[in-house]
């Protein structure tokens, strides 16, 4: 049996799937699935057994009907809503508006899945998504009264598990910042020293940092990178402190480098899709340019002119860029105008995949055994 590469595309009007063989040249498109639902998060998970060996988890939400998790064990043909989806108690005072992130648990915990929610909170399932509980140590943190929602909502959008010490995890929340646990999620510490501060109007100095997306270095789990509202940052001490890494990034004098996604390849190539400024939030001049910082370099280079002969006055959202784990790796992103682009040469040249969708919220890769 061979392998296939699946791209899961969550949009504000349902979920779509591309699939291809390992060459990743001829993509077959299926969907829409979950029509009518926003799909802010999706996870393709092949760690199961029996009929659910290949399970898709989708974080579905709707402006009128709230949020829940739906799963499919047949590549999207049929779906089942999880009755015991993440939820907040009435006493908490919080509302569960969206599911922003779904990630698998540690390698030796195939039944564990984590979910990041809006309003910001972290949930875990130990039975492959059937039941969920909130890790309340995060929402009971003393700084919680001073967490302030950005305009996009107070979302917990990034969850990272240390690759060899599953007790250590990081989460990142928009307009709040980074928190780390070293006891498997029971207690959390803010880890925002050195990050720029966005004006949240709240007095608490420990929080109020607007992380847009954060990734862990594949070779060194003490090293993290983030695209923040007010710049691009790196930590070499597990998030204890942060410093800017912005050489080559200034698009507009006086503005900190602004954008949403950041991705890292298995070999350590970093990728950004910088926007013109916080105020404008579009590709400068309509030029869809991918920037990369290669391992060993200290500066960013505009390495990929994605669609040289056309303009795209668009943005790319925080969870809409991703890397597969293959060799050579594929880099993918989806735009707010619903196009998907793919590069197989470290972000230098790009193909546009067929089809166009609504606003793309999330792009995830999934490597499956061919049926």
């Amino acid at each position: 049996m061979g392998k296939r590469v699946v791209l899961l595309i969550g949009t504000n009007k349902g979920l779509f799937q591309y699939s291809a063989d390992l060459e990743r040249k001829n993509w077959e498109l299926k969907g829409p699935f979950l029509s009518g639902w926003e799909v802010y998060s999706v996870l393709g998970d092949s760690r199961g057994e029996g009929e659910s060996v290949n399970r898709i988890f989708a974080g579905t939400s709707h402006a009128a009907y709230g949020a829940s998790i739906r799963v499919s064990d047949d590549f999207g043909e049929t779906w089942r809503q999880i009755e015991d989806s993440p939820s907040y108690s009435p006493e908490s005072g919080f509302s569960l508006n969206r599911i922003w992130q779904l990630i698998p648990g540690a390698a030796d915990e195939p039944n564990t899945v984590y979910a990041g929610a809006e309003e910001a909170g972290l949930f875990v399932s130990y039975d492959r998504g059937e039941h969920w509980r909130e890790l309340q140590g995060l929402t009971q943190h003393p700084t919680r009264p001073n967490w302030f929602p950005g305009a996009g909502g107070m979302c917990l959008h990034t969850i990272i598990i240390h690759p060899t010490n599953k007790k250590r995890m990081w989460v990142a929340m928009s307009a709040v910042g980074v928190f780390r646990t070293d006891d498997g999620g029971e207690t959390w510490q803010a880890r925002n020293v050195g990050l720029s501060r966005v004006p949240t109007g709240q007095p608490e100095d420990e929080v109020g940092r607007c992380v847009h997306k954060m990734v862990l270095d594949p070779a060194n789990p003490d090293v993290l990178y983030m695209q923040e509202h007010g710049g691009v940052f790196k930590s070499i001490d597990g998030g204890d402190s942060w410093f800017a890494i912005e050489e080559g990034l200034t698009l507009q004098d006086g503005d900190a480098p602004f954008g949403f996604p950041i991705s890292v390849s298995p070999s350590g190539d970093l990728f950004l899709l910088p926007l013109e400024s916080d105020e404008r939030r579009m590709m400068k001049g309509g030029k869809l340019l991918v920037y990369s910082m290669r391992p060993g370099s200290n500066s960013w280079e505009p390495i990929g002119d994605v669609i040289p002969d056309e303009v795209r006055h668009v943005s790319v959202l925080r969870d809409a860029m991703t890397v597969d784990g293959l060799d050579p790796y594929g880099l993918y992103f989806g735009t707010t105008s619903g196009e998907i682009f793919c590069s197989l040469d470290r972000g230098v040249t790009w193909d546009r995949l067929p089809g166009q969708f609504s606003r793309i919220l999330t792009v995830k890769t999934w490597i499956i055994e061919e049926q």
């Binding site: 402006a63 009907y65 009755e83 509302s95």
Partner: protein, 93 residues
């Protein structure tokens, strides 16, 4: 025996109601019908009600021609042919 009424829900929520957007329920009162609706179809609950048990802001539940939010009480005896409709309030996007 209760009174048999017709319930309709938006197609989007029909995966919570065994794939049907129209079905029947048997209850004695409107309150009983509302309780039975989410007891029989528990997946509906999260979509109709918020964390405090209130009908979501952009969800409307109509008993015949009345939004249940307009009613002084829900302890209303049902009559044959009554209708309970779940509607999405006008929203854009």
């Amino acid at each position: 025996m209760g009174v048999r009424i017709t319930v309709t829900v938006p197609m989007l929520l029909s995966d919570c109601t065994k794939g049907r957007s129209a079905f029947e329920l048997e209850a004695d009162t409107l309150q009983g019908a509302l309780q039975l609706l989410v007891a029989e179809y528990p997946l509906l609950k999260v979509h109709l009600y918020n964390e405090h048990g209130e009908v979501r802001k952009h969800v409307l539940i109509y008993y015949n021609n009345d939004n249940i939010a307009w009613l002084d009480k829900l302890d209303i005896p049902l009559a044959a042919g009554d209708k309970l409709r779940v509607l999405q309030a006008v929203s854009g996007g």
